[in-house]
């Protein structure tokens, strides 16, 4: 039986984010003229409690069965409005969101007329599409109470231990022959003055003792399929190959220190990196009295335009350690901006100054020149170039992504950024999550981090992962593609085209898509020549209706 479609439109001022550019009253008037619309309301903040209450009240009052909100981005706000629909007693997918903030008032803020016209178009399209919305259901699937942690540096080890302590099993993979990561090569960590060996030693011992953690060294991740709560993982350890099921995955693959090939006469002997200096510090033999450190070697330059966050503190820490070994050492640190952020870093910076370490600023335009036994630099105080004696030059190079970051990102189907660091779901509020649920990140794999930071990120990632692990099942909403078997011609187009490798041929020789796995990208829907794949969330009818509405004006 056909029910009458009754649409309510809610238009948000978003303070002045929208109403500063768009004429909301006009949009309301306009929306009232659209087919199926029975009520239109404007809200100062539709997302505020008052706004959502108004939606709920309107659904009851006007017996609405479709809700359209013209406001901001569905990325952040769709869940709120869907929940409001559900609370009002209609299927949350009878909801359509129109973005008149990012798409109108923000981008076209200098063209109010154009923005207004576009907002009308978008609202008209949204309302037209809403008429063809379909109710969607939620799926549930069982959670494998086990985690895979990739990388056994300080971050990976910390994460693994935290998850185990929360009562779950962990598979810990390390590609090197032993655990410890970058810290294996370090002398001491700042500011605790603990040796890196002690620190990782404690963790390794705890991991080896913990029966819930299975650690594989010399291991390589080979394949990951599945979805949150239910990932099938395959990896090798030496010649052996292993398969297992895990509910969550933590990426703690770390980073590497850049080798400064062709920079500042690097030779690994008189001109070395901080990592190479760490080895000398471990040995307690510096073999030099006049030391010059150069910061930002290969960082904050056009080819690598990021600050590696930790190198300044590494330089400061190591200059103090040199002073411990060679009391009368003369150390100059040549820097561009000292990144001694926070409390303890700034304190350590002062401590270095107190110990007689000298800091001289240089600019990107006139970098220091390393010559035999000396470093030349323009000194602003002297107003001229000066020559600093240097038996040893230490180059502070940035943390860069590992060579295998790209291949791991492909195996996990998670994104990396332009510098090949793994890309979190949201820079501000989801720093430890990937957009793909069930996969998390921490430590240098995300971005250079101090031991303290990597540790709390690792604990945090463990917490995020434990949210999934602490439940027996996970829910997945129905914004997924589904095959109408009767129309499938078994052409394999969907199998080939899916970036997540979800579609497969079932026992009847027809394509099948596991809803828990489908990411809802829609590529197969577009590709299927038989139009056998349906995307209830974005159906052809909906798109056609929206397009027709667009050109109907």
């Amino acid at each position: 039986m056909e029910t009458e479609l009754r649409t309510g439109v809610f238009i948000c001022h978003c303070g002045i984010n929208i109403s500063g550019v768009l004429d909301i009253e006009d949009l309301c008037e306009y929306a009232r003229t659209l087919p199926g619309v029975v009520t239109v309301q404007a809200n100062l903040f539709t997302c505020a409690e008052t706004g959502t209450s108004e939606i709920k009240a309107a659904v009851k009052e006007h017996d609405l069965n479709r809700v359209v909100v013209a406001a901001c981005t569905p990325r952040t706000h769709e869940p709120i409005f869907r929940a409001s629909c559900q609370e009002a007693g209609i299927n949350p997918y009878f909801f359509e969101m129109v973005n008149i903030r990012e798409h109108c008032s923000w981008v076209h803020r200098h063209d109010k007329e154009g923005a207004q016209a576009k907002a009308r178009d978008l609202i008209r399209m949204g309302v037209a599409k809403a008429l063809f919305l379909e109710p969607l259901e939620t799926f549930r699937s069982k959670v494998e109470p086990k985690a895979l942690v990739i990388g056994a540096g300080i971050a990976g080890m910390t994460s693994a231990l935290a998850i185990a302590n929360q009562g779950f099993e962990v598979i810990l993979l390390e590609k090197e022959v032993e655990m410890g990561g970058l810290l294996r090569h370090l002398h001491k960590v700042a500011p605790s003055d603990m040796t890196a060996a002690e620190l990782i030693g404690e963790k390794i011992a705890a991991i080896e003792k913990d029966k819930r953690i299975q650690c594989f060294t010399s291991a390589a991740l080979e394949e990951v399929t599945g979805y949150v709560g239910n990932y099938a993982v395959r990896f090798s350890c030496g010649d052996e190959s292993y398969s297992d099921k895990v509910g969550v995955i933590i990426v703690a693959t770390g980073g590497a220190s850049l080798k400064p090939v062709d920079l500042y006469n690097y030779d690994g002997e008189h001109v070395i990196t901080q990592s190479e200096l760490e080895i000398k510090l471990k040995d307690g033999n510096i073999g030099a009295k006049s030391i010059v450190m150069v910061q930002c070697v290969g960082a904050r330059i056009p080819e690598r335009n990021y600050c590696s966050r930790i190198c300044c503190m590494v330089g400061i820490k190591n200059s103090l350690h040199i002073k411990e070994i060679v009391k009368d050492a003369k150390i100059f640190v040549l820097f561009r901006d000292i990144q001694a952020y926070g409390v303890e870093n700034e304190a350590l910076f002062f401590k270095a100054k107190e110990a007689g370490v000298r800091f001289i600023r240089y600019s990107l335009e006139s970098p220091p020149v390393v010559e035999d036994g000396k470093v030349k630099i323009y000194h602003a105080g002297m107003g001229k170039e000066i020559s600093l004696p240097a038996d040893l030059v230490v180059l502070s190079t940035p943390i860069v992504a590992h060579d295998d970051a790209e291949s791991i990102s492909r195996i996990l189907k998670v994104p990396i950024d332009e510098h090949k660091f793994f890309l979190e779901a949201h820079a501000k509020l989801s720093p430890l999550d990937f957009a793909t649920s069930g996969i998390y990140l921490c430590g240098n794999a995300h971005y250079p981090a101090t031991v303290r930071e990597a540790t709390y990120q690792a604990l945090g990632a463990a917490s995020r992962a434990s949210i999934v692990l602490s439940h027996d099942t996970v829910e997945r909403v129905g914004t997924v593609a589904a095959v109408k078997e009767e129309l499938c011609s078994s052409c394999f187009a969907c199998v080939k085209v899916c970036p997540y490798q979800v579609p497969h041929m079932n026992e009847r020789g027809k394509a099948e898509i596991e809803p828990m796995q489908c990411q809802g990208c829609g590529i197969c829907v577009a590709e299927c020549p038989a139009e056998a794949i349906k995307f209830a969330y974005v159906s052809d009818e909906q798109i056609t209706a929206a397009c027709e509405a667009l050109y109907a004006a």
């Binding site: 978003c14 303070g15 002045i16 984010n17 500063g20 903040f45 409690e49 008052t50 901001c72 952040t76 706000h77 869940p79 709120i80 935290a162 302590n165 929360q166 960590v189 700042a190 605790s192 603990m194 620190l199 904050r300 335009n305 990021y306 600050c307 966050r309 901006d337 990144q339 001694a340 952020y341 926070g342 409390v343 303890e344 700034e346 304190a347 600023r361 600019s363 602003a380 660091f421 949201h426 820079a427 501000k428 509020l429 989801s430 720093p431 430890l432 971005y447 303290r452 930071e453 540790t455 709390y456 690792a458 604990l459 945090g460 463990a462 917490s463 434990s466 949210i467 602490s470 439940h471």
Partner: protein, 483 residues
Amino acid sequence: MNKEVLVIGGGIAGIQACLDLADQGMTVYLVERLPSIGGKMAQLDKTFPTNDCSICIMGPKLFEVERHPNTQLLTYTEVEEVSGEAGNFTVKVRKKPRYVEEDKCTACGLCADKCPVAVPDQFNMGMSTRKAIYKYFPQGIPSVYTIDDSACRIFKGKKCNICAKICEAKAVNYEQKETVFELNVGAIIVATGFEVFDPSDIKPYGYRTIPDVITAMEFERLLNASGPTGGHLERPSSLKIKAEIRQLEKQIKKAKTRLKSLEKKSEESGDETRKALEEMNERLPVLQAKGASLEELRDIAFVQCVGSRDLRYNAHCCSYGCMHSVKEAVVATEHGSELQSTIFLTDMRAYGKGFHQYCLRGASEYGIQFVRGRVAEIGVGDDGRPAVWCEDMDTRKVEERPFDLVVLATACVPSKGIENLSSMIGFDLDENGFVKTDPNKPANTSVKGIFVCGCAEGPMDIPSSVSMASAAASMAVQTVKAL
């Protein structure tokens, strides 16, 4: 063993810790001393380096805290006493009376519309007013009104009763009393955040004596749509003149009416009023002209390290000040494309993901000027605008540069209540007054079962606070599960 956890502080760190715990099936009490959760992040206009609208991305989290079946939100509540040990803490809390029944109030706002008492709005850094019955901020959670008993007429023994009369939900209750009760929890997370340093301590910067010298947080509110100017970028002196003009116009109107009535009666002489009116009519165009000259905002100076990296005030770096100012400069330019922003800094600390590129873009796309040199003093220039004295460390020139507006990037200092809390619970503070932690166990305080996250531990940006909040949640769960 008690599976419940207490989170103290409802800023972004406390909220994230609370949600992580609740999502893991723990019962969480979130205590917030203010009428609403949200903390400092709720006051920000946008966030770096993505320029996300702060309350827009935070709003859903506020909602989630309130809706989550495993959380119990205790706003307007303070912790009074803590005893016990890891696994079994007894916490005495005191919930202040709102004089509005939380379960009845629908936040319709009618009461505030009619309330006759206006006081400075703390959320807008005192730059606008709110009523004695008020909502802490529009998106505040819980979405209920609160009566400020230090401002309300009823609590001053005067007659009023307007809000109670007008409230259709019958939510206003002047008789509401504070309640004191105990919670039993297995672990506690301290997420009490930070305070913004008061720069009036630094005399040469003229804060509170020169009108157009403001703090970065005040500037956030000036940029914000729900701020005192509704998001229209204006300097305080302009706002002040406008208020004066409004006042004068009112007085002129009054004087005119009075004059008319005097003319009718004709027995009294209107000379005095006429003279006053003439004087006001002369003054009005002068004020209007001055107001018009202040309307446009052409240039802004951002002064970095105000009270930070300064052994006289706070030795530490605030961690976010550089990026905060770059963001404010970018957002300001979006408000007025002709605007020129200049940032005076010592070291540019753009050490986070995407930060350096954000600064480069700030320079190339938004024309932000970066001057290396800490501002020595701010005076009033010959044209009446604030003038910044600074040595440009690159050109080695000492110059006085006037600006329409000067924004002070103030230090991040420990919250006022942290000392009290530390002595109540017994955890240590570091020499700067933040909660002391072991660098290798970053969320652990010196007391077992008590964890810390966010700026209570030390200055940090939002993603770090969020990460650390999750870390504290993990530690709390581990503690409770190990018992």
